[in-house]
């Protein structure tokens, strides 16, 4: 529903344990979010392994903004706006390629892959005053890389990427630690799922431990998966506020209790002997066993990167009620037996015929239709408020099915929106 004007104050729309429905439906709120969140904070764009060779490039996005991620001949990574400086045509159309220069298909203006304007056809049509230096491609002003993950920020200054990630950077450390080579390969390609729903529906759902037993019961049943039990009342797993809007479903307490290496992945070491040998060689047998018990993180990095154990999801808002999820399989560089299984599981769960994301997408679109109802006006996020507590690092945690993550997301969201007022 959209009966409340956001200009009356974000505190009137966002309370500790409930938020107003208009936040999902009001186009004015969406426009404000673009400026205050998507074009200000750090946003995940891509991974260095997607542009492994000099002059490689891929087409990416920051929300609705079209972005080219290029690696120049010196190896430096650039985030350029995919918009010709002449008449605004998209310069690159292919999802990926290798080229030291880009030529706009509309009038042939040609740019280096670092964004510099190299020239245009029929230059006698200009009187010589055109300054090529000023007509280079637009740039994302700040680019930082952590563990191979490339983030961009449209703000000229502000918190560093590490300040933005805070303690949530440990999620990226944990993810990379499971690769025996210490590197990820995220070049398997990206599936795209478009839903008619507000982007925050997706962010909230990624670390919602309350829904799996309902929404995903069919795939858990068919696959004879024990994942559903991780999100029950008896589970020792935790929901966690990692700060800065980053949230987690920490399943390690359950995996440690069960004490089965690779149990998190639903397999056993004898089925991936090459991977296990590599992990032990890289870490020693004891540490490798710990890694295989704890498994891969389930963390939502605000606002757009969801680490879902063996997949990565990138959330791209296109309109107040339209969002694309880009999904790829996590691949450990140099571990073919494990990679094959992770790719198969990714296709099975979030591929075109997969159950998991189809289940969630149905919920997103039903939520979006429901939130337009005139009454009640509020979305309730009270679950577990009475049993919130601090962990050893001072982070707020709750039980597995509690809405600690959702409250954390909205708390940070409100701080960003108020800061931009």
């Amino acid at each position: 529903m959209s009966t409340v004007d956001a200009t009356i104050g974000w505190d009137r729309l966002i309370e500790h344990d409930r938020v107003h429905g208009s936040l999902y439906t009001d186009p004015a709120v969406y426009e404000a979010e673009l400026e205050r969140i998507w074009y200000r904070t750090w946003v995940f764009v891509g991974h260095v392994s997607e542009v492994p060779e000099p002059n490689d490039y891929v087409v990416k996005s920051i929300g609705p903004q079209p972005v080219i991620m290029s690696r120049d001949k010196q190896g430096e990574i650039h985030l350029l706006l995919n918009r010709c400086t002449h008449r605004a045509n998209l310069v690159c159309d292919a999802a990926r390629g290798n080229s030291s220069a880009f030529r706009c298909p509309y009038h042939g203006w040609t740019f280096s892959n670092t964004g510099r304007l190299l020239g245009y056809p029929f230059n006698s049509g200009y009187d010589g005053r055109e300054a090529k230096r000023e007509l280079g491609l637009g740039r994302v002003p700040r680019v930082e890389i952590y563990r191979g993950f490339v983030f961009g920020s449209f703000a000229d200054d502000g918190p560093t990427l590490l300040e933005h990630l805070g303690d949530a950077r440990e999620a990226l450390d944990r993810l990379v630690a499971l690769s025996p080579s210490g590197e990820l390969d995220l070049s398997a390609g990206w599936l795209q799922h478009k839903v008619k729903a507000n982007w925050k529906m997706l962010v909230e759902n990624e670390t919602d431990g309350y829904h799996p037993q309902f929404v995903h019961s069919s795939i858990f049943s068919v696959a004879k998966s024990g994942i559903g039990d991780l999100y029950g009342e008896e589970s020792t797993a935790l929901s966690r506020d990692l700060g800065n809007g980053h949230t987690e479903n920490d399943l390690r307490p359950e995996f440690r209790r069960i004490d089965q290496p690779l149990g998190w992945f639903g397999t056993t070491p004898d089925r991936v002997p090459g991977y296990v040998a590599q992990l032990e060689a890289a870490n020693g047998a004891e540490k490798a066993r710990e890694l295989m018990i704890d498994g891969s993180p389930h963390v939502m990095l605000f606002p757009n990167l969801f680490i879902a154990e063996i997949q990565l999801f990138v959330i791209q808002p296109l309109a107040v009620d339209e969002t694309v999820q880009h999904v790829t399989a996590v691949q450990y560089k140099g571990s073919p037996d494990m990679n094959r299984r992770m790719l198969q599981q990714t296709i099975g769960s979030v591929g075109p015929a997969g159950f998991l994301l189809a289940d969630d997408s149905e919920m997103y679109e039903r939520n979006q239709r429901g939130v337009h109802a005139r009454s009640p006006e509020w979305v309730v996020l009270k679950r577990g408020t009475h049993r919130e507590r601090l962990d050893e690092n001072g982070h707020v945690v709750g039980d597995a099915t509690d809405e600690v993550p959702q409250r954390a997301i909205w708390k940070h969201y409100r701080s960003l929106m108020e800061a931009g007022s």
Partner: protein, 76 residues
């Protein structure tokens, strides 16, 4: 001898080794227009040693291809 095609969203060329002359040379055919150019071994070796950005001036569309013909023919 055909070498193959090199294609991007910006250009498409077919490469082959031409032996019509006294020595081999690389034949480059622009697949969009049929225009053909040649590079000999020394020119190719020079390209291999080009530093970063040295080809950029040649990528200016107005340098040789899309420009007003000079008086008396050719390009200016």
């Amino acid at each position: 001898m055909d070498v193959g095609e090199v294609v991007s969203e910006f250009a498409a060329v077919a490469l082959s080794i031409d032996h019509d002359g006294n020595g081999p040379r690389l034949r480059i055919e622009d697949l969009k227009t049929g225009h053909v150019g040649y590079l000999d071994a020394l020119e190719l070796e020079t390209l291999a040693w080009l530093p970063e950005g040295a080809l950029h001036p040649l990528l200016d569309p107005s340098l040789h291809r899309w420009r007003k013909p000079a008086a008396g023919g050719g390009t200016h």
